[in-house]
């Protein structure tokens, strides 16, 4: 059956990866275009027409256009709630916990990606302020320890919230994988390490693995975390 769903996305971008995982978990058929950031395809006419901000993800489902990553995930889970994996538990208490962890990934994103990776990515090598970078690495370690504690509390073989994969995992995994791509060593965080290794084998994640990550190695951003 032809699908009305179409996603423009960029390889390795956590905001793009999240809706891809949801589409796979829901078993939905979708059209897609992988855009090249270096070719500035996110400013191309086909994207701009749907998303005047010129960003990916850019998403449509028939006439419904949704472009913010978290909004796409929520939209898909709500509209297709009876299809595939249920990502938002119905019990309000469990759902509250999933929502809390989903929104809390802003902190994980800020500590790992903005604080450590983007700072080094955007600063010329000889202009790196080592003292500042070390303070950011310390914040990343502290943030990782929080999530390590959450998994510890959930018990062995758990997901971020309980025994079922949920929207919290959709939000956490791409950020964690972005770190690992940047040589973040998870060995000092045994629960995160085991969680990461299990998730890597999940079909929705294998199917959406950033293509350019398969072809080249990432840079080392996380020494000392």
């Amino acid at each position: 059956m032809a699908s009305n769903i179409f996603l423009f996305w960029g390889s390795g971008s956590p905001p793009c990866w999240k809706p891809l995982i949801v589409l796979e978990e829901k078993g939905l058929t979708y059209g897609q275009k992988l855009i090249s950031f270096s070719e500035k395809e996110h400013k191309g006419e086909d994207v701009m027409k749907l998303n005047p901000r010129g960003q990916v993800p850019t998403f449509r489902d028939g006439d419904t256009i949704v472009n913010e990553s978290g909004a796409i995930c929520d939209y898909l889970e709500y509209k297709y709630k009876d299809q595939g994996c249920c990502l938002m538990p119905e019990d309000p208490e469990v759902r509250g916990k999933v929502l809390q962890r989903v929104h809390e990934t802003q902190n994980l994103n800020k500590a790992l990606i903005e604080g450590v990776v983007y700072y080094q990515f955007r600063t010329k090598e000889d202009a790196i302020d080592e003292k500042y970078l070390n303070s950011k690495k310390k914040e990343a370690t502290e943030e990782l320890l929080r999530w390590e504690g959450y998994l510890e509390k959930e018990g062995p073989e758990s997901y971020i919230v309980g025994k079922d994969f949920s929207m919290a995992d959709v939000f956490v995994f791409p950020i964690l994988a972005f770190g690992v791509r940047g040589k973040l060593d998870l060995a000092p965080f045994p629960n995160l390490d085991s969680y990461y290794k299990r998730l890597v084998e999940r079909p929705s994640i294998k199917a959406t693995w950033p293509p350019h990550w398969k072809e080249s190695e990432g840079k080392d951003f996380f020494k000392g975390v």
Copy 2:
């Protein structure tokens, strides 16, 4: 009836104001404590026990603890969906639009609050880089023009999405009001101006107006926007 709902909040903080508006729109009874940032009460034992990050909002509903602002709003709307005002429309297309605008407020927040207000708030007066500040004010103007366009498209007397107040308004209004408190002049944005004036009179907003805003005037942060 005694309520199991309790919220710790700070006056004028948009992340705290959002759940307060939702509680009022839902007509829920709730306990609350207004914390003082200057007295560092957000690091107090009662907050830290529920929220180890030591931030407000901090929220509980019986045994369910939810502390991220957006998560609290989602949680309340879901658990109490049949009470008071419906903030998340059931139709998937309209809901998709509300979700899009809700998540898009990150951009409004970044442009108005982080870019313009916090930069000036955190920088010593003689260290302000006027060129940088002007570029941030320009970004704020551009972002306001986007939202002005959204309202224009919705037509006269509209809310952010259509003719009904929704979660999108819960997310937009506190940021806009934060700007107006900082002397943002909405006259060049007639739709936003009329929207703001209507919302100021809404009972849920009057009931939750930041107490310290009634007592003192804000600083001028937005000259030239």
